[in-house]
């Protein structure tokens, strides 16, 4: 609708412009033509006047008229003059008969004054046969003739004897006291111009109309393209989840994307024209004012947080980013930017923070727990090394004392006095009992020492250095070489790692020792040792074709003092517990796969580097 109106308006404006242009040109052309016509009329009138004067003089001379005497004073000779004048008029009339005039309406008029009237002497083209009727000397009509008769010369636009507007050149005719007027109807002069104006105007109207149609045809796709692109950008701006806004140099919103309704509850039309600064919570309003309006600031800003008051008066945390806008002359004109609601993010951050704190607290608690446990373990070690030992010292000590004493008693005992039973008790039974006590104490001491060793191993300071696992294994194999005489041992892919050499020595020593110890007596022993590289650790394998471990026993092999299967080999039940402790300390894990009668594979990982 709007577009159609614009089109018609365009048409109208162009028409008016064309009209005005043509009018101006026409007027100028008309003026020129008018002037030319006037001049030519003047020339015609004057030449006719001079011609008539010449004719009159000639006639007077032939009629002996004293032409030098003014008309009023000719006295008795005036009759002659009258005749001469009549002759001249007759000649003129005769000449005039064959003269149609110029143009469509151009003609000469010759007149004199008779009894206060202007009397026309010649017939005219507008009334062929008769002369026009005389008109009163003083009237609206025939003004040019009047002037000519009053011996004036010139050109003017006035009414002629018919009362029609004409352009007339007037000239007095001396000698005969006539006036001559060469005139043409104004209408005739104007006609071509009016016609030209009408024609050109009509043509230009058609041209304008066609041109406009053409323009519309050409411009419509362009306009549509622009409109589409504008639509795209608009939807881009309006569909994103962020509030797009624009302020003027005073911080007044001059644009707001419609999402503001969802974000802040303000209607688009309500918020545009409002000050963005006033939407900012009081606490940071001054800062916002400085940022959005201060002329010397004019810099872009990103991710500035501010509390924004929404339609319900609540504070919404928002994050703003914007760039300044400058007018064409370089003046600061405001800001254009985006803002997003960050409540969710803040909530998430808060939760994250709480979670973090919680985690830290938990870690701290656990660390404290661990420290306490470690402390307890230390105490435990002390208990083992002192408190468990102390009673043993007494038990063993006094049983030895008793043994010695009873020995002395036995020597001095008179068998005949006490009887053979007592003697046997003193000499055999008691020492035997004391022997068992001693044995038990000895075993107990062994257990205590093992526990102590394990506990100390767990707390020993590690020395981390580059260690060749192959070197360590070879040293271990050398130490048990005498047991390996008939055993097929193969080493493959054994790396250099950063670790504690003593721990490694003990791990491999124990595992290799076990592998050899439990080899099958009926077949050739075979031990394979290899490693596989993983991302952060090496996986080591020690496989034997020995007796294997029963499935039910596998879960217990790493337990302290546990010895599984048939007890044919020597051992304190400490080795694997020890190995597990060491592997764990080196950042690894150990596991075992085994089939009774087929063989066992120990698999353990070692970190490539230890922090």
């Amino acid at each position: 609708m709007q577009e159609k109106r614009s089109f018609y308006l365009l048409l109208l404006i162009m028409s008016i412009v064309a009209l005005v242009t043509m009018a101006v040109t026409n007027v100028i052309l008309y003026q020129v033509a008018f002037k030319e016509k006037s001049q030519s009329l003047v020339e015609t009138a004057q030449s006719q006047a001079r011609l008539i004067e010449a004719m009159a003089r000639y006639n007077r001379r032939t009629n002996r008229i004293n032409w030098e005497t003014p008309v009023g004073e000719r006295g008795p000779t005036s009759l002659l003059s009258e005749r001469a004048a009549a002759d001249t008029i007759a000649q003129l009339k005769d000449a005039h008969k064959h003269y149609i005039g110029f143009g469509d309406t151009g003609e000469f008029v010759l007149a004199g004054i008779e009894a206060e009237k202007i009397v026309f002497l010649l017939s005219h083209r507008h009334d062929k046969n008769t002369e026009p009727k005389p008109v009163p000397l003083y009237s609206e009509l025939a003004e040019p003739m009047r002037r000519a008769l009053f011996v004036q010369s010139g050109v003017m636009v006035a009414k002629d004897y018919r009362g029609i507007e004409v352009l007339a050149a007037y000239e007095p005719v001396d000698v005969l006291n006539f006036g001559i007027v060469a005139k043409i109807n104004m209408a005739e002069i104007r006609a071509p111009f009016i016609r030209a104006a009408v024609i050109t105007w009509l043509i230009s109207l058609v041209v304008i109309f066609l041109g406009s149609l053409l323009f519309r045809k050409i411009s419509t796709p362009i306009v549509e393209k622009i409109r589409d692109s504008e639509k795209q950008y608009r939807s881009l701006v309006e569909d994103i989840n962020e509030w797009v806004w624009m302020t003027d140099e005073k911080g007044i919103l001059i644009y707001s994307s419609p999402i503001v309704v969802d974000l802040l509850g303000y209607l688009h039309d309500d918020i545009v024209g409002q000050s963005l600064i006033k939407l900012v919570a009081k606490s940071s309003r001054n800062a916002a004012k400085k940022r959005l309006t201060r002329h010397n600031h004019k810099s872009e800003f990103t991710n500035i947080n501010a509390q924004i008051i929404n339609a319900q008066g609540k504070f919404i945390p928002m994050e703003f980013s914007a760039s300044p806008i400058f007018a064409e002359n370089g003046d600061f004109a405001g800001y254009r930017g985006v803002a997003r609601d960050i409540s969710e993010r803040i909530k998430a951050e808060k939760m994250q923070q709480e979670y973090q704190q919680n985690l830290e607290r938990q870690v701290e608690e656990r660390t404290t727990d661990l420290r306490e446990i470690n402390e307890e373990l230390k105490n435990f070690t002390y208990i083992v090394s002192h408190d468990l030992r102390s009673p043993l010292v007494s038990i063993v000590g006094f049983s030895s004392e008793i043994k010695e004493d009873i020995h002395d008693v036995g020597l001095s005992l008179n068998e005949s006095a006490v009887g053979p039973g007592i003697k046997t008790i003193v000499v055999n039974t008691i020492p035997e009992s004391l022997g068992f006590i001693n044995q038990a104490a000895e075993k107990m001491e062994g257990l205590i020492n093992n526990i102590l060793a394990l506990s100390r191993m767990g707390r020993r300071e590690l020395t981390i250095e580059k260690v060749s696992t192959e070197g360590i294994i070879n040293r271990n194999l050398k130490a048990i070489a005498f047991q390996l005489e008939d055993v097929d041992v193969s080493l493959k892919m054994l790396p250099e790692i950063e670790s504690d050499a003593i721990s490694l020595e003990q791990i491999f020593g124990n595992l290799l020792g076990n592998a050899v110890k439990f080899l099958h007596a009926d077949r050739q022993g075979k031990i394979e040792i290899w490693a596989e590289e993983e991302q952060n650790y090496w996986q080591f394998y020690i496989r034997d074709n020995g007796k294997g471990i029963a499935e039910k026993d596998i879960p217990h092999i790493f337990e302290l003092f546990k010895r599984v299967g048939e007890q044919q080999a020597q051992g304190d039940g400490m080795g694997l517990t020890y190995v597990q402790t060491l592997v764990r300390r080196l950042g690894g894990k150990i596991s075992c796969e085994s089939m009774l009668g087929i063989g066992t594979t120990f698999k353990f990982s070692l970190a490539k580097t230890i922090d």
Binding site: T381, Y382, S385, H386, D387, R389, S390, L392, V393, S394, V396, G397, F398, S399, S400, E401, N438, A441, E442, E445
Partner: protein, 142 residues
């Protein structure tokens, strides 16, 4: 020449009895005073100093794990005091914890003996100790 007095400080009377018997077996005739904790040992030293300045310097056998005042504290006090630092102190303990041994030597103990559980070893160690005490003599206790 023997020490006139040996202070045997151990809360475990069984242990001190065993030590005493074994010392006697190697022919040690000195007076053996058995005390049950560290504080008693310090009190004894204090009392002796007041009573008789001319008394012979004692030889102290000190257990570590004791109530009231433990052996390490007593050692520190004796060796930290100008008047008593010359008194020989031998630590007698059931533990063989390396940290503890190191600590005792740092504090100035003259020897550290771990009480062996096996009686043969125990006897041997105490015998050596007794013989050692038989040989050396010390100036009088001031």
């Amino acid at each position: 020449m023997q020490f006139s007095t040996i202070l045997l400080v151990d809360d475990e009377s069984a242990h001190s009895t065993l030590v005493e018997r074994n010392l006697r077996r190697v022919g040690l005739t000195s007076e053996i005073v058995k005390l049950e904790n560290g504080q008693q040992a310090l009190d004894w030293l204090e009392k002796m100093k007041d009573k008789n300045k001319e008394v012979n310097t004692p030889f102290i056998l000190l257990d570590i794990n004791m109530p009231v005042k433990n052996g390490i504290e007593v050692l520190a006090e004796i060796k930290g005091n100008q008047n008593t630092c010359h008194i020989p102190v031998v630590m007698l303990s059931t533990t063989d914890s390396p940290e503890e041994i190191e600590q005792c030597y740092k504090l100035g103990c003259n020897a550290y003996i771990t009480k062996p559980i096996m009686h043969d070893e125990f006897q041997e160690k105490i015998r050596e100790l007794g013989l050692f005490m038989n040989i050396i003599s010390l100036p009088k206790y001031h």
